[in-house]
Every structure is written in C-alpha cells, then in structure tokens.
C-alpha cells in the first residue's frame, strides 16, 4: 500500500502513541484487503457505545484513548447508548449501569465526537452525499448509506471506525471501489409488501440466504425510506449484507451489472414462514418500536394510532434525540404519553438491559430486533405488524 511521507511518520510514532496505534490498525486492515492507499473520509459513525455491548474492556479502551489526547478529525456520530441519556432514572435503568454508560459518553465527548447516540445518523444531521467515502459502523446505517444514499463505506468494526475518525482516513478497498459494488445475487420479490414489518421479514429471510453477498432486488414496486431502513437493517442482522440495490428505487441500481446472476424468489409463503419463525413468544410484556430508530413519520403514525387510547402494557418508541425534539414540537410525544407510551431517546431495545428490567417477552415490528432480542436480551419475541402490536397492548 502506498503511504504518504506524513503517514509514514505516523507509523514511526512521530505523531504520538495513540495515532500510531490506530493508524497501524488501519494500515494492517489495508494490507490484508489489498488497499492501494488511504482515502480521506467525509464522516464517521462509531459503533460500540452501549456499556452492555462493550463492557469494562471497551470502556477502558475508550478512556485510555481519550486520556492520551485522541481527537477526531471529521464529523463523527455515535451509535445508540445503553440508556436514555437524560431520562434514564424515570424509565427504570439501573444506577450502576448508568454510571458506566456516562463514563463511556464522557470519553467519547473528550475525543470530540458528537454525543448523539443513534443508529440513524442520516436522519439526525450526519448525511453523506452520493459517492462520498465514509467510515460508518452500525450495520443498518452502513446498509442505508451504501444502498439508499449511494455513499461508500465498508462495515467498520467499532475500533476501526474510531481509528478512521481520529486519523481522518480509511484504507481504500472493498465497497469504496465501484467494481466491488456489483450485485452477486438477484432477489425476485413476488409478493406485495404492505407493512414496514413485511420489509423486515423480507430482509431477514434474504440475509439468511445470501449471507454477505450483494443482492439486487426486483419486484419491489415502491418503498419509502422507513421501509428501506427496515429491509437493510434485517439483512445486516441475519446476514452481513452491507449493500443492496433495488430496481427503480436505489441510486446505483441502473448502472450495476446484473446479468447472469443466480436468482432467489421470495413469495407469500416465504414471508409468512419468516413471521412464524421469528415469533418465539405468545403475549408481549412490552412492545418496542424504533429499530432502527424511528423517523418522524413513524412516530406520527404511532401518535395517530394511539390518540385517545389507553395502553394496558408498556409501549416504547426508540428514536434519536433530534427526532424526539421535533416530535415534541408537533405534540406527538404528549399524545403518546397520554395513552401511556414512552418516547425513549439515545438507546434501543437491543443495546439496553431490558432483561434486567423485568421483561421476558418483547413485541417488535423489526426484523433486526427480532433477530437479536433472543440471544442478547434473553427475550421471547412477538414479531408482528404495527396494527397488531398496538391492538395487543390496549
């Protein structure tokens, strides 16, 4: 790999221990994946924020970096934390957990990272442009930025994204290169998808089948960004899909090579079967929306459905602090609170310690959440559409 004189100096330790350590990680990744050079990144999104996910080892690693003066060079956002950073006490998050979570946030802040914890940075002020090179790590945000926006990022691990933020560059390989953005499998969708959860089911099914391939979808007539967010998130969770194309909908779909690809058909029975497979529980103790973080449109839809209703069991809607603020101004939060629901910001059901908060069965409309909740939160899952989930809590 070609390094500039300046970059050689970093490896020689002239820019300090932290820079050397982090640049060496990028350099080694670049050598493994045969990058020709380092390229500047426009923005970074760092995963590995929740204390629950990274534990003491991750916390100590971050504090070590921060104490040695690591500072980011580009706009850098964070993945969800393990709790609502303002409202954690009221929502019942454990005190000792909160203490450690706040230590982690302090370390990030010291490094100049914007303390907005969200898996939808593109809805909250970190929006890359078409063909911009970025280094993002949250798997659904990677999928959205690559596929729906047409920006270019590999699936970065938490530490490699942090290294890119602090060094301002990433090795030029993988999805940064046009030849690697070509589809490797065709998905023929032969069923009408109505609910966002239908897109989640499709994504979960396809991710399982194609693992880390690049799917090219046909037969999806229309989908808004919430639905594409649900589709990509589920594929990245059940598989390792970092980029997909949808005929007629995503920006690179027209220009990629799609001849001679193996084809997988997905019909009604596959979607129905996926709903059945993801349902491991009977009745939810709690229903959680917003995986990935809810958009303003999703919150407004829920406010409509909850207006004047009375919930018997808890409903959480997870979102970013910025979207919560907008929802507040529109009066949605009040409507939802009156019905007995909660808007939860900065965190989500997957990275928060819900299993320690007395919940055993969680209802979700997200294929990604349905994938992670059993293993990581020891939850039984009810995977259903928004109408059935809301109805069940009334």
């Amino acid at each position: 790999m070609h390094l500039t004189n300046e970059q050689e100096k970093i490896l020689d330790g002239e820019k300090g221990e932290v820079m050397e350590r982090l640049f060496r990680l990028l350099f080694r990744l670049g050598e493994i994946y045969r990058a020709d050079s380092m390229i500047p990144v426009g923005s970074v999104q760092v995963a590995g924020v929740s204390y629950k996910s990274i534990g003491n080892p991750g916390m100590e690693f971050l504090e070590d970096m921060a104490s040695k003066g690591a500072i980011v060079k580009v706009l850098t956002y964070l993945n969800p934390a393990g709790m609502d950073l303002e409202n954690w006490k009221k929502l019942g998050f454990p005190e000792d957990f909160a203490k450690n979570q706040l230590r982690i946030m302090d370390a990030f802040k010291k490094m100049g990272i914007v303390i907005t914890s969200t898996c939808t940075p593109y809805l909250a002020g970190n929006l890359p442009r078409f063909r911009e090179h970025i280094a993002w790590s949250e798997s659904s945000a990677v999928s959205f930025s690559n596929s729906v926006i047409g920006a270019r990022t590999n699936r970065e691990g938490g530490p490699s994204a942090l290294a890119a933020a602090i060094c301002g560059v990433t090795p030029n390989y993988g999805l940064h290169l046009w030849e690697n953005r070509q589809p490797s499998v065709k998905i023929k969708v032969e069923v009408d998808l109505k609910y966002n959860s239908d897109f989640g089911a499709l994504g979960w099914y396809v991710g399982k089948q194609v693992k880390n391939k690049i799917p090219y979808f046909t037969g999806i007539k229309d989908a808004n960004t919430d639905q594409l967010k649900a589709l990509g998130a589920a594929m990245a969770a059940s598989g390792a899909v970092a980029l997909y194309h949808v005929k007629g909908l995503t920006p690179e779909a027209d220009n990629v090579k799609k001849e001679g690809l193996e084809t997988i058909s997905v019909g009604k029975s596959e979607i129905k079967g996926t709903y059945a497979k993801l349902n491991t529980g009977n009745t939810p103790d709690i229903v959680i929306f917003g995986c990935p973080h809810a958009s303003l449109r999703e919150i407004s839809t829920l406010a409509d459905k909850l207006e004047g209703k009375h919930l018997k069991k808890p409903v959480w809607i997870c979102t970013s602090r910025m979207i919560k603020e907008a929802a507040e101004r529109m009066g949605y939060n009040e409507i939802i609170a009156k019905a007995g629901g909660s808007i939860v910001a900065d965190t989500c059901m997957v990275v928060s310690p819900i299993e320690k908060m007395g919940y055993k069965t969680t209802g979700v409309n997200s294929g990604k959440a349905a994938n992670y909740l059993p293993g990581f939160c020891k939850q039984e899952v009810c995977f259903a559409n928004i109408d059935d989930l809301v109805e069940g809590q009334l």
Binding site: L25, R28, L29, I32, Y33, A47, G48, S50, S53, I54, G55, N56, P57, G58, E60, F61, N79, S137, E138, S139, V142, N154, R155, E156, G157, G158, P159, S160, A161, G174, K211, N212, A236, A237, S238, G239, A240, V350, N371, Y372, P374, G375, F376
Partner: protein
C-alpha cells in the same frame, strides 16, 4: 494448509468447528466465552482456549469489541481460522492480538482436531 495472515502470532489447541457464520455481538457471551446465539450449531459450547474455525463473521459491527473483550476477560479463543475474514473479525483479532488466518478450506478441519496455527507464516497444521 496455507492461508493469509490476518493477525500474527502462534497458537495451539483443540478445534471447535462450525459451517455457520458467527456474529460475536449477541452470539458469544463476553464474560464466559460461551456461544449464546439461539439455534446456532455451537450454542452452549465454550470457545475459550480453542482454535475457533468458522467461515466468516456476520451481524453487528460491535463484534470487534466483543472479541477484544473476550481476550481481556481471559475467555478468548486461542486462535481463529476462517474461510474469509471480514473487517469486523479482523479488527477484533488485531486489537486483541489473537492469531488469525483466513483463505483456508475449513471443511478439512474436524471438531476436536489438534491444531497448530502459525499465523506469522499463515500456516495451519492438523496434528
């Protein structure tokens, strides 16, 4: 067998093999090294001090920290062998200093095989 060095070092141990991808985040307990991914062929088994053999990573990108955490907690595998190591696993093993190579025909390794892994040279020996 000869492969590609992902993270240097040497390791020796018993192979624990799966043909399914592994997602470290939510898939392996950071404190115990036990596989907790529901329905995974390795569910309930410990990866600690083993040579962990799997085709590729999957799932969340927080997996790198989990690999690093397994090492810090003293419950990490002694070495990792993949068909194709993607960035998440690569970042984790480099940071943790766990020997790892890929581009290996992992079908030739059986559960319980005694493995010598020389990741400096990118070589796997089945004893």
């Amino acid at each position: 067998m000869k492969g590609r060095t992902i993270s240097p070092g040497k390791a020796e141990g018993e192979a624990i093999v799966t043909s399914e991808p592994i997602g470290f985040y939510g898939g392996i307990d950071i404190n115990t090294g036990i596989v907790i991914d529901k329905g995974h062929p390795l569910e309930g088994k410990s990866v600690t001090d083993k040579i962990l053999v799997f085709p590729c990573g999957k799932g969340s990108t927080v997996g790198s920290y989990v690999i690093y955490g397994l090492k810090k907690n003293g419950v990490a595998p002694a070495g990792i062998i993949n068909k194709e190591t993607e960035t998440i696993v690569a970042t984790g093993v480099i940071l943790a200093g766990i020997p790892c190579i890929d581009k290996i025909e992992i079908e030739k390794i059986k559960d319980g095989d005694k493995i010598f892994l020389d990741a400096d040279k990118g070589v796997v020996e089945i004893k």
